[in-house]
């Protein structure tokens, strides 16, 4: 007995789903496949009354505000430079052996930081004045076309790209440029890729037990796990106020900002510093390394 075509098999699947019994003259393989299908169908269940009541309660309430993530993204590009500074400040304060590196980073962006001085949020973070307004893009191709330096885009992500929205920002600073790209859906940020064009590359001292020196596709890099950071990892309160005329001011105090741990993989390629940020600490070093190195492997 020859096996059913895919079309015939699909028709029999429908029949099995309707409760019909397959004919006895099917091949053994087809009969066994349909029996497996019947076995799978047997586990369907009806939603219970508790679930129905829960949804009824939900739909009895007015629609909630929706923009929990993407609207803050508008602010994110504005504070991108501030984030860099804050991250390095945090490195400097919390991971002392990495302090030299942190200061080096700050200096690259034209920021001077005195070690041992606690940042005063109310006085504002060190600001980096963009030489051009940040521009947002919705595809990697658009960002690459606008950037004046080569970007390496990972192609191997530890999540399904279907349904993931890409947002990219490009802005120029006094000392280079930064590109920030975010992969996420309406609720979550899965991964962030950041690239900084550094006009003043310097030494690259790396840290202690909490930071790990690592090779990323043949380039020197750094792995930070559970690094406390703000902005990027979900400062929930209003840290930035944007007036209708576009004026941005920093508001709030240190109590308003929550530092949350992030995982970050950094590496330097020529004059460009790349960062792969896992804001929710979902992914392992192996996964992030694979993602980072795919930017080189699949070029």
């Amino acid at each position: 007995m020859s096996e059913l075509s895919d079309l015939e098999f699909e028709a029999w699947l429908d029949a099995v789903e309707r409760g019909e019994k397959p004919p006895d003259n099917l091949s053994g393989e087809d009969a066994a496949d349909l029996a497996m299908a019947r076995r799978l169908l047997a586990f369907r269940a009806a939603p219970n009354s508790r679930l129905v009541a829960r949804i009824a309660r939900i739909t009895a309430t007015p629609a909630a505000k929706h923009h929990r993530i993407w609207v803050p993204l508008r602010r994110r590009a504005l504070v991108g430079a501030a984030f860099i500074a804050s991250l390095t400040l945090i490195f400097s304060l919390t991971l002392t052996p990495a302090g030299t590196w942190a200061q080096g980073m700050l200096q690259r962006f034209g920021v001077t930081f005195l070690p041992g001085t606690m940042p005063q949020w109310s006085t504002g973070l060190p600001e980096i004045t963009p030489t051009r307004s940040p521009v947002a893009f919705s595809s990697e191709r658009e960002v690459q076309a606008a950037a004046e330096f080569p970007l390496h885009w990972p192609t191997d992500f530890p999540f399904d790209r279907d349904g993931v929205t890409f947002l990219g920002f490009l802005a120029y600073t006094q000392d280079g440029a930064w590109v920030e790209s975010l992969y996420g859906d309406e609720e979550h940020r899965y991964l962030e890729v950041q690239a900084f064009w550094l006009r003043r590359p310097g030494p690259w001292p790396v840290g202690d037990a909490q930071l790990e020196s690592i090779n990323v596709g043949g380039h020197q890099g750094l792995w930070g796990q559970g690094v406390p950071a703000s902005f990027i990892a979900g400062a929930r309160s209003a840290l930035i106020h944007e007036d209708v005329d576009g004026t941005v001011t920093r508001v709030g105090s240190s109590q308003d900002s929550s530092l949350e741990p992030i995982n970050v993989l950094l590496w330097e390629d020529g004059e460009v510093l790349y960062m792969l940020v896992d804001p929710n600490q979902h992914y392992s070093l192996t996964e992030l390394l694979r993602t980072a190195e795919s930017a080189y492997r699949d070029r």
Partner: protein, 183 residues
């Protein structure tokens, strides 16, 4: 200085003009069973109720963002459902095993235990399939979607879905040590 205009944000979020309450009610009526069973097959019985409620809560809170130009309401709802399930799977540790807590109650405890054991075996076999095949099986046998709809949802051709479905069934039954064709 503006990074993303309100118009652009609306575009990214799904545009206007939204889904009316009646339309949402119709969507709920037609999709509740499907979504619930899809979640059950993907995440297990333990999480099915909570996640299904979350899916409809999310859809309800965003119903004003539904854009008819981008597809049918069911397609929109399925995108929300699949994203939420994917997110749950991503957060789950690889070894996490859920227990089938809400199988139909039975007067015969031994029958219920047998059914639970079989459900666990089937889910374990399902979990050993490729992610896309798990999705296809859950959409076909849990949600009862057609291969055509599944093809649209997972971004494969209908023929590819048919082939993968059949191969997945075969792999599962091999994994389970054969299925009694006369049950």
């Amino acid at each position: 200085m503006s990074i993303l205009s309100a118009q652009r944000i609306r575009h990214l979020m799904g545009g206007q003009p939204g889904l009316g309450e009646d339309a949402f009610s119709d969507l709920y009526q037609s999709q509740l069973d499907r979504i619930f069973n899809y979640v059950r097959y993907r995440l297990g019985a333990e999480e099915a109720e909570d996640v299904t409620a979350d899916i409809f809560a999310r859809a309800w809170s965003r119903r004003q963002k539904y854009d008819a130009h981008k597809g049918a309401p069911s397609t929109w709802l399925w995108a929300i459902a699949r994203n939420l399930v994917t997110d749950r799977l991503r957060r789950r540790s690889p070894t996490q095993v859920e227990l089938p807590a809400d199988l139909a109650a039975s007067d015969d405890p031994s029958a219920e235990i047998r059914e639970q054991e079989e459900w666990q075996q089937v889910r374990a076999a399902l979990a050993r399939l490729a992610a896309v095949d798990q999705e296809i099986i859950a959409l076909r046998f849990g949600a009862g979607e057609t291969n055509r709809t599944i093809a649209t949802l997972v971004g494969l051709s209908e023929a590819n879905v048919s082939q993968r479905l059949r191969r997945a069934l075969r792999k599962m039954r091999t994994d389970l040590g054969g299925v009694d064709t006369h049950e």
